[in-house]
Amino acid sequence: MAEQIRKDDEPQDATPNVSDVEVVEAHSATEAVAAIEAPVERGEPILQVRNLVKHFPLTMGILFKKQVGAVKAVDGVSFDLYQGETLGIVGESGCGKSTVAKLLMNLEKATAGEIFYKGQDISKLSGRALKAVRRNIQMVFQDPYTSLNPRMTVGDIIGEPFDIHPEVAPKGDRRRKVQELLDVVGLNPEYINRYPHQFSGGQRQRIGIARGLALNPEIIICDEPVSALDVSVQAQVINLMERLQDEFNLSYIFIAHDLSIVRHISDRVGVMYLGRMAEIGTDEQIYDHPTHPYTQALLSAVPVPDPEAREGRERIILTGDVPSPANPPSGCSFRTRCWKAEDKCAQETPLLAIPEPFRGSDSEAAHESACHFAEERDVVHAA
């Protein structure tokens, strides 16, 4: 199997030029039609996640550990990722979005479910086969201060992936490759011998991105890549990521809690709550036509940097906190904080599907939403 993958990989190094053209076209189209059809036109998904589950066991006892329960960090998540698109995943802390990232990277073993990369289930791979797949899926971490080894030079950090995958860059070529990467992310190639502490937060995040790009991956998973940065630097890094996406035809999974940034960068957005996907759709469907009460509450709580807009905007203030994932409520997990909750919500778990009233309609509200009483409500725009 590993052999096969490597053969698959070979031509990919050359493909960026060809696929570049496609992306440019796709993008001019997206700008015009605001990305609605984009995922449909992109054909086969590059990554398919099906019913992904991760339960962390809770144990008691010291010598004879007995499992007494489980933290249901991810509890049945499904989504697709298409070539060249950005899928944003939003949710509050503890909703399982970072665990999804770790599962996709195979840094955690999934309890159940499948992750198909180009049709192949990668969630159960190990050893050489896993190594080969990982080349194509890379990660950029949140904290640029702790995700770079302080004792390694920038050249060593960015060049380290080449030690693991020597086929990408022959030994003698590495220095040049690293300098090229530094240039691509907007850092001076002469900085190759410097250490991470000599850089600012934004520059460090660029180093992290350069490391992620080193192996020419197809998918980059970004876990809160800009949340540790200052506002003025955030915009620089976001613009860089968008430029790189066009240039290398990358697919991003962009995990963040900042809903404005997610809207800016994403083609499609998934909203997670307590380990499940509450609603998923294009950015316009989610932000302008949300149907799940949780999405509506989340969006309405975002402070908008416009004092005039605040007066006309509807705000839903949720009461209470997110319940513990070790003991989630029965039925719909959002029901304890939901103003629409009825008996049905406690008994039946709503499935992620296009809600009944919108089925067959071509309105923007017709997208997948896991609520028994899904209803469209605009909370983002001033009335």
């Binding site: 520059q203 003025s232 404005s260 809207r263 800016h264 908008v304 940097p305 705000r315 203030i317």
Partner: protein, 350 residues
């Protein structure tokens, strides 16, 4: 979300327009380090009236928190020193007071809420004990009475089942609840002024909205002054009456909240506003302020923002712009507005 809307248009009652609760005048704070003297705050002026919310906006290293710590009197000196400036609280210069006099103001008259509630609370004492400490130390209350007061306070900040949770420890509360306890602690002695340093940065948006609402509600009820230190332009738009934007230890712009967002008078403010993506529409490429915030050991000469500014000319590199009154085209003064830019006219009038 009707509460804030009602209050926003009508400024809260003030005891005489010209008697601010707190006035900071030409404050300078330096840190002596091995590499040299870091000028963290370089002549900051601002004031807050009772019932008013001043937002101090700035990126990391802009001096916004150091100013607050100087007001609170919790700077470590050395390495910090205050070579110049006045901090007038109800007309009295706190910098000239003895340590004992300041101690009596701190907590009782001016209280502070920090960003990270988990590290600000003592992990080995129950929250009830820590809340009660305020009453025991400042009012000499008995343990029993202090405990009753603690429960009352926890009720006040809407912690469910306060009586049952009073003996819990900080780690047993969620982030939002911990921040409520911090607010309760700040409110305990009914201070005149609260300084909140990034009070909701560590919280999720839905919880952030709850906490900000609570803070605004309590502020109105007690008619307190509030200094809100933050980097989040969204939070500021929601709650502030007026804003001071800081950059490299100086205030670069001052304005009432509506004016600042509508017509910024400093290129840095404009750049910040342009660089945040919008929630209600899909934007094109983001505007990005080029470069990085300056190293405070080597602040650029002239206007500190000049290397990053698109409009910078020779005068910006040599001459430090003063914080001057901003006027309309016809010369009428815009109340409460000032800008430290040589070209503020071009910036505001386009």
């Amino acid at each position: 979300m009707t509460i804030i809307e009602e209050a926003a248009p009508v400024p809260a009652p003030r005891e005489g327009e010209d008697a601010p609760l707190l006035e900071v005048r030409d404050l300078h704070v330096e840190f002596v380090t091995r590499e040299g003297v870091v000028r963290a705050v370089n002549g900051v002026d601002y004031n807050v009236h009772a019932g008013e919310t001043l937002a101090v906006l700035g990126e990391s290293g802009s001096g916004k928190s150091v100013t607050a710590q100087a007001i609170m009197g919790i700077l470590d000196m050395p390495p910090a020193r205050i070579p110049q400036g006045e901090i007038l609280f109800q007309g009295q210069d706190m910098l000239k007071m003895s340590a004992e006099e300041r101690r009596r103001i701190r907590g009782r008259r001016i209280a502070m809420i920090f960003q990270d509630a988990l590290s600000s609370l003592n992990p080995v004492l129950s929250v009830g004990y820590q809340l009660g400490e305020m009453f025991r130390v400042h009012h000499g209350m008995s343990k029993k009475d202090a405990r009753v007061k603690s429960i009352e306070l926890m009720d006040r900040v809407k912690i469910p089942a306060a009586a049952a949770r009073v003996d819990d420890y900080a780690h047993q509360f969620s982030g939002g609840m911990r921040q409520r306890i911090m607010i309760a602690m700040a409110l305990a002695l009914e201070p005149d002024l609260i300084i909140a340093d990034e009070p909701t940065t560590a919280l999720d948006v839905t919880v952030q909205a709850q906490v900000m609402d609570l803070l605004a509600e309590l502020q109105r009820e007690y008619n307190m002054g509030l200094i809100l230190i933050t980097h989040d332009l969204g939070v500021v738009a929601d709650v502030a009456d007026k804003i001071a934007v800081m950059y490299a230890g100086r205030i670069v712009e001052r304005a009432p909240v509506h004016d600042l967002y509508k017509r910024p008078a400093h290129p840095y403010t404009r750049g910040l506003l342009d660089s945040i993506p919008r929630l209600d529409q899909k934007g094109q490429e983001l505007y990005a302020i080029k470069g990085l915030p300056p190293n405070l050991l080597r602040v650029p000469s002239g206007c500190a923002f000049n290397p990053r500014c698109e409009k910078a000319e020779d005068v910006c590199r040599t001459q430090l712009p003063e914080l001057l009154q901003v006027t309309e085209r016809d010369g009428t003064e815009l109340t409460g507005r000032s800008s430290a830019c040589h070209f503020w006219k071009e910036t505001i009038h386009g």
